[in-house]
């Protein structure tokens, strides 16, 4: 409870500083609107149907892109964990591909795919795949040898070991990767929307910014920030049943 009070205290101080800076005119109100104005802009968005259309366009792209990317990444990582040759063969090419900023693919793909949903999904999936793949393939290949040996003694096949021992043991680290992927998916989605226009929060913030609608722009930044926080909670919620044992396990060690 005290912790919660302290946490909100920090945000409150931030808001108070913002209000002081804008109220005293230290920074021109054109650039930093009063909180009330931003709040009004948020309220105007929330009560308009048009905003929700854009909002859900972004959320849909983000969630579908992220889920597909995570499934592909874990599937490839599983196969790569089974066949060391494949894992080593993929190492340099993943290093190269993951260092490409996802929005940089837009100019290339726009010729091939046109401005279609396929373009959005390709960029988003391409962008968020790597973080999950790298942490998954790392985690799967560095499982406690004792566990793997025990499984071997019990006569489990390689695939069974992979599925029943390695994958659960790797889950916590895989989720670290998924969390990173989730933030990349938000970034890739908004950036692609900015470049391509059309629907979505990225296109909205771009238009608001260049139309000098400051209050709307800050409101959209606030909403995108909230969306990012919501994504973190979502990943944590999915993580709990799949990898929650790890936090319970380490809590046990601390209590002992």
């Amino acid at each position: 409870m005290l912790l919660l009070a302290r946490r909100t205290f920090g945000l409150l101080i931030f808001l108070v500083i913002w209000e002081i800076v804008t109220a005293t005119g230290l920074v021109s109100p054109d650039y930093m609107p009063r909180l009330a104005l931003i709040g009004a802009a948020i309220w105007a968005f929330v009560t308009s149907g048009d905003f929700w259309l854009n909002f859900f366009a972004t959320v849909q792209r983000m969630l579908i892109g992220l889920s597909v990317a995570v499934v592909i990444a874990i599937a490839v990582a599983l196969v790569a964990a089974r066949f060391a040759l494949l894992r080593r063969a993929l190492e340099p090419i993943t290093d190269i591909l993951r260092s490409l900023p996802p929005p940089a693919l837009v100019p290339l793909l726009i010729f091939v795919l046109g401005i279609t949903p396929a373009l959005f999904y390709f960029v988003i999936i391409f962008g968020c795949m790597w973080a999950t793949y790298i942490s998954a393939s790392n985690a799967l290949s560095t499982v406690e040898p004792v566990q793997v040996n025990t499984a071997k003694i019990y006569g489990l096949t390689d695939w069974q070991i992979l599925w029943q021992i390695r994958l659960p043991a790797a889950m916590p680290e895989i989720f670290t990767g998924i969390r990173l992927s989730a933030s990349v998916s938000l970034l890739a989605t908004t950036a692609t929307e900015m470049l391509l226009g059309g629907q979505g929060l990225g296109a909205m913030i771009y238009n608001a910014g260049f139309s000098l609608l400051w209050d709307q722009m800050y409101a959209l930044m606030f909403i995108i920030g909230l969306l990012g926080i919501a994504m973190n909670f979502l990943v944590a919620a999915v993580r709990y049943p799949l990898a929650g044992w790890q936090s319970r396990y380490s809590a046990m060690g601390a209590a002992a």
């Binding site: 920090g10 080593r88 063969a89 340099p92 940089a104 010729f111 970034l187 260049f210 800050y218």
Partner: protein, 258 residues
Amino acid sequence: MDRFINGRINWPGIIFILLILVVWEVWAMIADSFYFPRASAVALTIVEDWGNLWAATLDTLRRAAIGFAIALVTMLPLGIVLGRVRVLGEIVEPVLEFFRPLPPIAVVPLAIMLLGIGDAAKLVVVVWGASFPIVINTIDAVKVQDPMQARLARSLRLTTWERMTMIDLPAALPRIFAGIKLGITVALLLTVVSEIIVSTNGLGDYLRIAQSDFSMTRVMTALIVIAIVSVIVNGATNWANRRLLDWHYRRSALAGRQ
């Protein structure tokens, strides 16, 4: 076979990349499409357009380096203070946590409106993006303390200064470096992206111009050069990291063998 797979030089990886290049070349030759330039054409462009590409690369690297340096110089001390002074950390951290999920791209319109399309606007975006991994990792790094080490310091009657330089700093370094590594990657990535959106020069701008010229070969070339540059930068960071934290990796390798 095992030597071939797990050797020091990653032969399977190299062969795989060569294979991709060959398939790309042959496929493009068969397809003979405007949208699908051949690998050799891209290689030729890199050689022919070397002057422009090199200048663009330097612009991009300069911007990324300045942005990263600003983030490092401001965020490292801030992270240490926030991690060390409990009360301050507890108040400021939620604010950081609130801003962190905001994609740095969302700052682009704001930065342009405030600062125009010059270097300053792009730098703000780069600094913004590179700051979070550095400050958050630094906070975590200096906050967590091994109780055994703290007791050892007391037993040896180390002064505060000795304790800070001899125990706390080395203990915090691996985590701080993890943040710095992430910061460098993010800085380079955001530089290119911000150059695509607001372009004056640099690799991102090269890419955008190639796109508006409908020159697929040059679009592809720009992508390849961006990839090569980031691989080199990331490789150099990893190398420096390993050199500086040699003792740390040796110890964890030892622990892994037990």
